[in-house]
Symmetry: C2
Amino acid sequence: MPYGDAMATRTRSEERRAEIVRAALEVIAERGYRGASLAAVAERVGLTQQGLLHHFPTKEALLVAVLKERDQWDAVPDTTWRADLLVSLVEYNAMRPGIIQTFSALLGESVTEGHPAREFFTKRYTAVRANMASVLRAEYGERLPSGLTPERAAPLLVAVMDGLQYQWLLDPESVDMPAAFRDFLTLLGER
Amino acid sequence: MPYGDAMATRTRSEERRAEIVRAALEVIAERGYRGASLAAVAERVGLTQQGLLHHFPTKEALLVAVLKERDQWDAVPDTTWRADLLVSLVEYNAMRPGIIQTFSALLGESVTEGHPAREFFTKRYTAVRANMASVLRAEYGERLPSGLTPERAAPLLVAVMDGLQYQWLLDPESVDMPAAFRDFLTLLGER
DNA sequence: ATTATCTATAGATCTATAGATAATGC
DNA sequence: ATTATCTATAGATCTATAGATAATGC
């Protein structure tokens, strides 16, 4: 557990690191990881680039902290997820284009060779698919109304969420992400 | 029509440009656009970086040529598409991880601010959605069996294709992209 | 005392321009 | 003649290290 009890009494240093991670999320949203310079992140928190490196010794260490942030975000205990909560999640995402842009950009970059986030995303998707399968199983049992097993429906569910995000980020006027996602859930749930 | 009749009698220069574009596709697959240096592309065709710039005066001009390549690829006349041909397309894609990786990386980068491919992808997705809607309309008429209109099903179809590509690129062993896509089409087509 | 931040700087890149030389096409 | 390619190089970045100074915590 990286955080936990320490949460309440955050040291000055932890505070600073959190600020830096927040700034990094923004800069990555704007320029991707490869395009995000340490100097740009540092400037956003009023530091020099070398000052930033006191808190995160390498650029990759900063990326790791950014990815951990996401992990915490998503680490909602399986049991609390239900299909209707997924709709709320998508609706919530539609109000936070910044964070979605950060992680859509990172996901895109991560498929390139030797990208430092590649392993993170590979593992994360394995976990997210398993999670979604268990949500669907809790909702429908061994077969969805359409006849699909939860394990076969899960990658489709994840794909729709990600794919809609790209279309929506590129053209928010033309793509009603939550409505489209609801359509998909209807499709999944109908016989 | 960028090519056309000239195709048959391709000049030495056109030949060279095509080689360079091919190399650029590879390097972008490996490192993304921002990470793809002109020197790396040049080396792959046995040129110096400055030699390459004789054929494409700027890095962005090279990217534009790469994107045009894709356009040609996708510009299959609407009328020839049918739902079952989409399955063949996905199966074909599953045999060409390189090109899929190139454009998945570019799509990811393109959501960042001021990315030179952003407008291209925005327009392309508008066109692709319209295309898919017309494929679905030809197949099912004004309502799919599930009750969705072609216009509402289209973004889901596109999202599934893109989303599955990311999952598959990250973990080809765990994701059977064509099988999953077939599952989705069944979902769309069933009442 | 320890932590945070700064100045200075090394060492790699990267894109792009200028101008010379080599190869090719009429 | 024109096109293709090269050498040389300017001018910007970028990450990271070294070492000095300022701020903070006991």
